[in-house]
Amino acid sequence: MNILAIETATSVAAIAISSDEGTEEVEASRDMHHVETLVPCIQDHLRQRSWTMRDLDLIVVDIGPGLFTGLRVGVSAARSFAAALDCAIVGVSSLEVLARQRRQDEDCWSVIDARRGEVFAQHFLGDQAVSDPLVLTPEALGQLAGDQTVLIGDGAQRYRDVFASMGLVVNEDVVTPSPACAIELIKARQLTTGQDLRSIVPMYLRDPDAVANFHVLDRFKS
């Protein structure tokens, strides 16, 4: 089975391409140039295998939670490809992919930088999520997490000083979700037949919070 996985939930964009011979993972961009780099990266690596998009049987996409600007790039690309190719698609959670990248016997919180002073976080024991995905401040997460837990992800790294001051351990080896790991995850869950395309939407977690004062324009627009 030929699978393409797309990862854009954090400041690092990456893809993985998998066939019966194995899986190759490639980083497309490190500095939020996801929209310029993602599709050329896919094109290059399909070409290296002498594949076209039509050789793909399944598209796996990270639906977040993560950066608003990144997720829109990855999810819209994945959905467009799936619709145009009539190919199966499946969405995975960034926090679940991260959790799969650590030693499975560790009690862990996956933590992704949400910017604006907050993180996205979820608690895992073994391969089971034991909390909902949350959006909260690093301080609030520190109070929620017990001292037996290990924090992973770019949010854990960014706020390592906050967590260290609260006596929590950050595993610096697991930083951003791996698309190769996303493929392993959907295989383990036997989701390779795909999901309804319309159900593949970004998981933002935050409510729209712009309370706009549009009356300030009235006197100029009327």
Binding site: S11, D31, M32, L67, F68, T69, R115, R116, G117, P208, D209, A210, V211, A212, N213, F214, V216, L217, F220
Partner: protein, 163 residues
Amino acid sequence: MTLTLTTHSVEETRDLGSQLASVLVPGVVIVAAGGLGVGKTAMAQGLARGLGVTGRVTSPTFTLLASHRANNSRGITTMLHADLYRTVSGEEVDDLAIGELVESGAVCFVEWGDLAPDVLGAQRIFVSLSQGELDDDRIIAIETQTTAVAEGAIAEALGGWSS
């Protein structure tokens, strides 16, 4: 504390923007308020010059958000320039994700930013422009809502325009 300054021409407003660039750090959003033709875009052009942006800077009234590569010694790699005048809802402003984008080594100048200041990140400088006594005079009031830039540093950089 509000710093109140006066400029006497469009060129001076541009120069003031350029000087303001010299105290900025990555992550800061300038929330610009003031009516049509009062000099918001001129100030943005000056800011771009001060940040080492080489391309042409025009008001992104219809594109809503423009991204310019910047080249300076302050670690600011991108100048974002937004205009909320054409936005019609809070959700549309949210969609621009300015508070998120600015954390990638950027600063952002937001025209009509007073429409939705709450979603423009935590490090904000408010700039309000208004008509002065003479036709070309502009009163520019600056208030910082950030610990990233000291008010004293702004006052010192812009001291030449004190009212």
